[in-house]
């Protein structure tokens, strides 16, 4: 028998049927019928944030760590507009998310009613799709479609705008949750074209100086197991985008680390000198390629991506393959194994020799300008890199690490080695300061038994620090490592390098709060570190069993003059890099 439910009850019931465990949100007038429906049930836990932006980042962190869509509920008007930054963040990084925004009653839409915003219009450029509910009976079908669209193909955020009258408690309609979705206008490609895959494999078996270039698509697409087997089978080097860290074990020899603007010397050199790029789930972003006309001049390019629009958008590729990364990699693997089995001995030897020489070149680059992962504490100002290296040591490389945006983000990406996917959680595409803390909260909600660290800077942290209150309410024992350089470090670095050291509005050292007192006022634990010799002890304490159930904020005062290197030279090729304050490598 079909249940008769109000729109508000239907909405919550549909989320239950979709298997949603957490709803991150903030109430308000237009959302009150829905909030009443939440009150009457126990299956979905609602997490009350302190600002709607944080609700979207929490849902985002939850989604990145688990692969399941994050779900958000906000009210109309300011509730909806506050959610936009988080929606845009998820959109740029292809994160599955469903956002419900309450709306003023249908009859008031267009009248500039109290707390009215055209949410479908405002969010349009930053969503994968959006819906507006017209009548309550549509709700189950729209919710089903929204989850389908958010989680399939290239994932992304979907907004459902819900006018208050469609959730009216007294107006009942039959509830039935659909089993499946069919849409003639939406059928994302899954399997890659076999002819293209064959072409790619034959290019791979002929390459002399190949490199895998993998991005967030391999993580979001759950393609990392197959990727690892394929890369090991071929013995090729691999480099990863910021979003792809963890797709391949961080410390393995074949992994050259991150590429691009602050990528490793060996990654960027290899990308410039390679004769075959196998790009998977990466999008040739401007922070990777440097000047597109100078990009990888000798390379044949294979590009695997689920989004056809990502292919040949920035760089024209030779062998495009549209498809799901995991499925394409599986096909590549089967074909490679078959080809290798029947391969001519001379061919095997010839490629083996070429690869050995390629590795020799790469090892040379590594030895010359690779990152130093054996930093030691001394009596000089604390190097931010040392803090991340120490964090890696203390957490044994097992933490889920979220970050904000700026220098600390790059240091974390360079110095924390991620051996598993979904452990490195940061806003790569949009570059959203204020992401780190709420994202860490979403991760901790999803994985209560895991260690979650948020590497942040004082600038980013202050953009969403109100969520310390939410952390107390839900007992989230996040460990926050604040690389405090008393400035907007990355802005200041650019001003040092490109604006003659004129620090226009990037410093505020005389007005910073005492973070230890601040977090203690929120009911948490604070530790301040100013000497390198105290660092390891402080981190050991923060991550010790005695602090297991506590949020600990470690405020580390780092060298304010430190820059992130390597750094790409604007307008150059990938091998054009500044390597330190006094040295550059230019072609």
């Amino acid at each position: 028998m079909t249940d008769m439910l109000s729109g508000g009850d239907m909405l919550i019931r549909a989320l239950q049927d979709e298997g949603v465990e957490y709803l991150f949100g903030y109430p308000g007038g237009a959302a009150l019928h829905i909030y009443d429906a939440i009150f009457k049930q126990q299956r979905i836990e609602h997490i009350l944030v302190r600002h709607e932006q944080a609700a979207t980042h929490m849902a985002d962190g939850y989604a990145r760590a688990t692969g399941r869509p994050g779900v958000v509920l906000v009210t109309s008007g300011p509730g909806a507009t506050n959610a936009i930054t988080g929606i845009a963040t998820a959109y740029m990084d292809s994160i599955p998310m469903v956002v419900f925004s309450a709306q003023v009653p249908s009859g008031l839409i267009g009248t500039d009613a109290f707390q009215e915003t055209d949410m479908v219009g405002v969010s349009r450029p930053v969503v994968k799709h959006s819906f507006m509910v017209k009548v309550a009976a549509e709700i189950p079908g729209i919710v089903k479609k929204a989850f389908h669209i958010a989680t399939t193909g290239r994932p992304g955020p979907v907004v459902i705008d819900v006018p208050k009258d469609t959730t009216e408690p007294g107006e009942l309609a039959p509830y039935e949750y659909p089993d499946s979705v069919t849409m003639r206008s939406y059928n994302p490609a899954m399997k890659g074209n076999p002819r293209q895959i064959k072409k790619a494999v034959s290019a791979m078996l002929k390459a002399q100086r190949p490199i895998f270039y993998v991005g967030g698509g391999t993580v979001q697409g759950n393609a990392t197991a197959g990727l690892r087997t394929l890369v090991q089978l071929l013995g090729f080097p691999l480099t990863s985008t910021l979003m792809g860290l963890g797709a391949y074990p961080g410390r393995e020899k074949q992994n050259l680390g991150m590429l691009g603007m602050h990528g490793t010397y060996e990654s960027n050199m290899a990308m410039h000198e390679t004769d075959l790029i196998i790009a998977i789930g990466a999008r040739f972003d401007d922070r990777v390629t440097n000047a597109p006309v100078k990009f990888a001049p000798q390379a044949t390019i294979v590009h695997v991506d689920i989004d056809p629009a990502s292919i040949s958008k920035i760089i024209e590729v030779d062998i495009p393959i549209v498809g799901d990364a995991a499925m394409v990699i599986d096909e590549m693997l089967k074909l490679t194994e078959a080809e290798l089995a029947g391969r001519d001995k001379d061919d095997v030897e010839a490629q083996g020799q070429a690869l050995a020489q390629w590795w020799q070149t790469i090892d040379g680059w590594r030895a010359k300008h690779g990152l130093n992962h054996a930093l030691v504490a001394d009596d000089k100002p604390i190097l931010p890199q040392l803090v991340v290296q120490m964090l890696y040591k203390v957490t044994k490389g097992n933490a889920y690490v979220t970050s904000d945006v700026g220098q600390h983000q790059m240091f974390a990406a360079q110095y924390y080695h991620f051996d598993e996917p979904r452990r490195w959680i940061n806003s790569g595409g949009l570059g959203t300061m204020g992401f780190g803390l709420p994202a860490a909260m979403g991760v901790q909600m999803a994985l209560p038994n895991e260690t979650v660290a948020c590497v942040t800077g004082e600038g980013s942290f202050m953009m969403n620090m109100q969520e310390l209150s939410t952390c107390l309410q839900y007992g989230l024992p996040i460990k926050i490592v604040n690389l405090n350089n008393q400035a907007l470090g990355m802005v200041k670095q650019w001003q040092d390098m490109q604006y003659g050291g004129r620090h226009s509005h990037s410093t505020y050292s005389d007005s910073l709060p005492d973070f230890k007192t601040l977090v203690e006022a929120f009911g948490h634990q604070g530790i301040k570190v100013t000497e390198a010799s105290e660092l390891e002890g402080a981190l050991e304490t923060a991550f010790s069993d005695s602090m297991k159930d506590k949020l600990v904020f470690v405020d580390v005062w780092v060298d304010p003059h430190e820059h992130v290197y390597p750094m790409a030279i604007k307008g150059g090729s990938m091998r054009d890099m500044v390597l330190s304050k006094t040295s550059t490598a230019e072609s």
């Binding site: 479908v120 799709h129 989004d307 629009a309 024209e316």
Partner: protein, 169 residues
């Protein structure tokens, strides 16, 4: 990708006839800095579908991106670049001109040559209706020369492929 010549393209799109679908198409062009020269849209014989024709300019890479990005919109069912093969394009123009003295005959003759019709007449005005490819309408405006134009309304291009090539669900 640059260095290619700018091409005029006529792109036909079938999209779900739903509220908001058109704004997504128009928004996409604004958001990604693509040009729209003209755009026409109306429901088809199937009331659940709208057919949209838009003309745009760009090099090969840009046109490819436009088509891919259009297809990415969830409500877009099919996309076709009509210029890739034989096709027919038509645009409707209503043009109101000041017609006095000898000019009245001259405009009538020119309209006949272009197979246009005078659909409204006053003592001082002619309103001419003309159908054809956009360049024919441009040519008519040039041909009437010194005649003062009072008002021009153009429908934008509608297009369809020739022969067996069809855009349907």
């Amino acid at each position: 990708m640059g260095h290619h010549t700018n091409m005029r393209r006529i792109i036909a799109v079938l999209l779900e006839n739903e509220a908001g679908a058109l704004s997504r198409v128009v928004g996409l062009f604004a958001q990604r800095n693509y040009n729209i020269e003209s755009l026409t849209v109306a429901p088809t014989e199937d009331q659940t579908l709208s057919r949209l024709t838009l003309t745009t300019f760009g090099d090969k890479g840009r046109i490819e991106q436009i088509i891919k990005q259009l297809f990415k919109l969830v409500e877009v069912v099919k996309v076709m670049d009509l210029v890739e093969d034989d096709h027919i394009e038509r645009e409707l123009m209503l043009i109101k001109v000041r017609a006095i003295g000898d000019g009245r005959q001259e405009i009538k003759r020119t309209a006949d040559i272009f197979r246009g019709q005078i659909i409204d007449v006053t003592g001082e005005m002619y309103t001419v209706q003309l159908v054809g490819p956009s360049d024919k309408l441009d040519a008519f405006i040039r041909a009437i020369g010194k005649t003062p134009i009072v008002e021009v309304v153009r429908s934008g291009v509608s297009g369809i492929a020739r022969g067996d090539r069809i855009l349907t669900v």
